[in-house]
């Protein structure tokens, strides 16, 4: 007697659990019971769990009966002719979705050849074990699993054609690749996922060789000639937003060219791109600090008294301007209304990103790398037939990572480009390598993909044969232009007077504790002090009570608020952070007394 639970709630008992479970399955395949019902039979405790709740991960499998899949040639033909669809197969009970629990009771074959009489199901395709991005990797079954993970992660960061209506969208921080291409070596997932509508890379000629060491440590070498012809170009879009906010007392922001009397007025030069409406004109080429949307705000902290004060009319400058290091062209201006009904101005700026040293590229096999040098076309190595590679990839990236698919894709891409067709590189179901090699031979090339190449600088032939081929390369969204950062002088924090942190705030680069230790270890005491001088201050200290005194610059004298005018006051140099901690001690009721002594 087996207990039956429906959605984990006890429902009753059955005499023959096995038969009961089989009955539910049969009815489900017939379509009497909805197909989202799953049953799990626990033999040990003779318990049947029927599940129809939401949130279970389920996956499709082909039903197998007596060692034969229910999906027949007839179905396949009908599918090809578009006479039936996927949902018809489910209705017919040819394909069913199983959840994790029901899968426990099933015996699933991987391929048709594996089928025995005991099998209950068969995989739709071995590809279902992979996710979307992973199944886009060609010849994935030749790669180490970690490389597939890395490769699919990289694909998500690739620049491409993310939306056809990008030109009327106001997306934050997006990139569009100028001339995206479809991969020469593709997988069936390319078609299933509609990759043709959202391509995210370009086919490039890759040579695996070194070039004066500029592709050490995963760097790649780019061909200037290729870049000049548009390889890897992309545009970066970012909107600037300004809204006319309303404040208490009927006051409102105003989008306009700020008046010179406004508090915080920058300089006439900074506002030069603004038209009468206070907004920059389209196609204006702006540089950092240029104002994009001119805006003024009413004065802050308006008390009731100020309303009668004429001087209170001085408004604050609150324009939106280009950030530090930012430059570009105004692409699109949108004037609309916000949800609150305020005037809202969005200015989308665009910046053309031509590949430069430091930009990140990758193949689909987790072989990411950064541009190490851009070599003039004339200096690039060339093959006997005059082919010049777009990218030179380091051979050291291959042995330890064992990305064999990377190498196969190169051969396949070469065949594809020469034969003028796309190559099917679907994981577990690809065109075999030896067939590709034969075809390459027929096309008049060495079957192993190697070619005789010549030094671009001297014209001499390389002793070694160079492995060269075509593969699909992706430009990743990490570009130096967004990351480059340095600082000599710059903004400081209000509280600590130490430099701000982070690129966005033009921050300093921290000299941390371990870095400090290296200075000490070298005995470079005075250099160390200089490095930590960023927040140094001179404070007057009362020699009597040892508390920080007051300096009155107006009267040109110092006095101690505790001991009065008569006390001896000396100025000492300390870090502002130290002054701050003394203040914090005082606020805790601790008396931090400074005992001064002549330094010399």
């Amino acid at each position: 007697m087996g207990e039956v639970y429906i959605n984990s709630k006890f429902a009753g008992t059955v005499d023959d659990s096995r038969q009961f479970v089989q009955h539910i399955k049969d009815e489900r395949r017939k379509g009497v019971i909805p197909n989202n019902v799953n049953v799990h039979y626990n033999e040990k405790i003779d318990e049947v769990q029927v599940e129809s709740s939401r949130g279970r991960a389920r996956r499709p499998l082909i039903v197998v009966k007596d060692g034969r899949p229910l999906l027949t040639e007839k179905h396949v033909k009908q599918l090809e002719k578009n006479e039936i669809s996927w949902s018809d197969l489910i209705k017919q009970g040819v394909i069913e979705f199983l959840d994790a629990a029901e899968e426990e009771n099933c015996f699933v074959a991987f391929t048709e050849q594996d089928l025995t009489l005991e099998h209950t199901h068969m995989e739709v395709s071995p590809l279902v074990m992979l996710g979307l991005a992973t199944s886009l990797v060609p010849y994935g079954n030749f790669n180490q699993s970690t490389r597939l993970n890395a490769g699919s992660k990289n694909q998500k960061q690739a620049l491409g054609f993310y939306a056809a209506n990008y030109s009327v969208r106001m997306d934050m921080d997006v990139n569009v690749l100028h001339t995206p291409q479809l991969p020469l070596v593709e997988t069936v997932m390319n078609e299933i996922s509609g990759y043709a509508k959202h391509p995210a890379g370009q086919n490039m000629v890759i040579a695996i060789m070194s070039y004066k060491g500029y592709n050490m440590e995963d760097a790649i070498i780019l061909n200037q000639g290729s870049i000049d012809r548009g390889l890897g170009r992309s545009s970066y879009f970012r909107p600037s937003v300004a809204e006319e906010l309303r404040y208490a007392g009927g006051l409102i922001d105003e989008i306009s060219i700020p008046d010179k009397t406004v508090k915080g007025y920058k300089s006439e030069k900074d506002y030069r791109f603004l038209e009468e409406d206070g907004i920059i004109y389209p196609e204006a080429k702006f540089k950092e600090a240029d104002v994009i949307i001119g805006k003024t705000s009413p004065p802050r902290f308006l008390s009731s008294l100020d309303e009668y004060n004429l001087a209170s009319s001085t408004r604050r400058e609150s324009s939106v301007s280009a950030k530090h290091g930012e430059q570009g062209i105004v692409d699109f201006v949108l004037i609309t209304e916000s949800e609150e009904g305020n005037k809202l101005v969005q200015v989308r700026v665009r910046d053309e990103r031509i590949p430069e040293i430091g930009d990140k590229f990758t193949s689909r096999h987790g072989q990411k790398g950064v541009v190490g040098i851009i070599v003039p076309l004339a200096d690039m190595p060339f093959s006997a037939s005059g082919i010049v590679p777009d990218i030179i990839f380091s051979p050291h990236g291959i042995p330890s990572r064992m990305t064999i698919a990377h190498l196969i894709e190169m051969v396949a891409g070469k065949v594809g480009s020469l034969a003028g067709r796309t190559i099917n590189g679907t994981t577990f179901d690809a065109e075999p390598e030896d067939q590709l090699r034969r075809e390459l031979m027929d096309l008049g090339f060495r079957e192993n993909g190697m070619e005789t190449m010549y030094n671009g600088l001297t014209g001499e032939m390389y002793q070694a044969k160079i492995f060269i081929g075509d593969m699909y390369y992706l430009k990743l969204k990490h570009m130096v232009a967004n990351k480059l950062h340095s600082r000599a002088r710059g903004p400081i924090q209000l509280l600590t007077r130490q430099p701000t942190e982070g690129r966005a705030k033009e921050g300093g680069l921290r000299l941390g504790e371990m870095e400090k230790d290296t200075f000490v270890a070298h005995g470079a005491s005075l250099l160390l002090k200089e490095r930590f001088d960023s927040d140094r201050t001179i404070v007057p200290v009362c020699e009597e009570c040892g508390i920080i005194a007051v300096r009155d610059d107006f009267k040109k004298r110092s006095y101690c608020p505790i001991c009065g005018d008569s006390a001896e006051i000396s100025s000492i140099e300390v870090s502002y952070a130290f002054k701050l901690i003394l203040d914090e001690f005082k606020s805790l009721g601790i008396y931090p007394k400074l005992v001064l002594e002549n330094k010399y």
Binding site: K516, D517, T518, V520, A521, H522, G523, A524, S525, L526, L527, L528, K529, F532, D533, D535, R536, E573, V574, S575, A577, F578, I581, F585, I590, Y591, V595, Y600
Partner: protein, 377 residues
């Protein structure tokens, strides 16, 4: 002779002794002076310069290769269940000054007639091994009806370590209070004296009685005779230096343990210092790293200068720092600041951290020399 005494303030005794040994006995004074002068020059040359940040250099020199150390514990090849903590965990254990080790271990060297690899060594090893009751019983059961424990001894195991039932009974009687220990046929019964003994108490007693020490050296859980060079030694898991050294057969001059606190207690602080150096160096060497011993010596010195072994933790040597700010900059700042403010501590700003805090040159290297001038009136 007088020449040597003259130099005794300039050179360490060890170097003078070395010179004594290596020069001919009838060396002339002028020649000897030349030799000694050269020694002095070389000695002074090899000394660390004033103002060198030795501690920090040591810290970096140990710390940097330390990052490459594996967390593996090595196993003695071929020997079952004899492993020792090695690598980073062991170094941390030593430098933190932990009282209880994860794997205490001893190497027992034996005196001349005993270190031959005959049958005796096996006997000796078994005699050293500390046996607890659990090692010689075949069964312990609780008699609920009778409110007592029944212990069945294993004859085979007892014969192996030459223990009689009578002695077992005697030791049990001595160590177990509140229970009547009696021999009942083949088993020993422990019956509670008071009637309020609950089953829970009995259960606790069962666990306790298992650990009663029966024979051999307390604390030594495993013994293993091993051939080292030409002699046999006994390696043990578990350590009890004091009792082992008292044994007649043991060569007390070479026998060691890896428990630094035991060495400190039995042999004194100097021996503990040496033990720290040896133990740390052993680990670093076993990892194939190359760290100069003098760095480790410095660490060992700082751990031992107070006369007892102190670990490099906030409770150990860090708490001994004279500067409030330096202590506060390590762990638990609030505790130190409040403590200092309660007793009105003065910070003389003598070391590195404090001076970094107040942005003054640190008194090390170029920050050390000061200029003293006479003010013109």
């Amino acid at each position: 002779m007088s020449m040597y005494t003259e130099y005794s303030t300039k050179l360490p005794k060890k170097i003078i002794d070395e010179v004594k040994e290596s020069v001919p006995e009838n060396i002339s004074d002028s020649k000897l002076k030349k030799v000694l002068d050269e020694c002095v020059r070389e000695f002074e040359n090899s000394q660390v310069e004033a103002g060198e940040a030795v501690g920090l250099v040591s810290a970096e020199s140990i710390g940097e290769p330390g990052t490459q150390m594996t967390l593996n514990t090595f196993h003695f090849a071929g020997v079952a269940e004899m492993n020792v903590t090695m690598g980073l965990p062991r170094i941390i254990e030593i430098l933190d000054g932990r009282k209880s080790l994860t794997t205490p271990m001893m190497e027992i060297y034996l005196k001349k007639p005993y270190n031959k690899g005959d049958n005796n060594i096996r006997k000796l090893a078994l005699a050293i091994k500390g046996n607890r009751l659990r090692d010689i019983v075949s069964e312990i059961s609780i008699d609920i009806a009778d409110n007592s424990l029944k212990i069945v001894l294993s004859k085979d195991k007892m014969r192996e370590i030459e223990l009689t039932e009578a002695t077992v009974l005697k030791t049990l009687q001595k160590s177990v209070k509140n229970y009547n220990v009696k021999m009942e046929g083949v088993e020993i019964s422990l019956k509670a004296k008071s009637k309020e003994t609950t089953l829970n108490d009995l259960y606790k007693m069962k666990e306790k009685v298992k650990t009663v020490h029966m024979s051999g050296v307390k604390g030594v859980t495993q013994v293993l005779p091993v051939k080292r060079d030409d002699e046999y030694i006994i390696i043990t898991a578990g350590s009890n230096l004091k009792d082992i050294l008292e044994m007649e057969e043991v060569d007390a001059t070479r026998t060691t343990t890896n428990d630094i606190f035991e060495i400190e207690g039995v042999l004194g602080i100097e021996a503990a210092r040496k033990a720290i150096i040896d133990e740390v160096f052993k680990v670093i060497e076993s990892q194939g790293l190359n760290v100069d011993v003098r760095h480790i010596m410095l660490v060992a010195d700082t751990m031992c200068t107070s006369g007892v072994v102190r670990g490099i933790t906030r409770y150990g040597i860090v708490s001994q720092k004279s500067s409030v700010l330096a202590r506060a900059s390590f762990e638990t700042p609030i505790k130190h600041i409040i403590q200092a403010s309660l007793i009105g501590e003065v910070d003389n700003l003598n070391s590195v951290v404090e001076n970094v805090m107040i942005n003054q040159p640190v008194p090390i290297g170029t920050g050390l020399p000061k200029l003293r001038i006479k003010r013109q009136k």
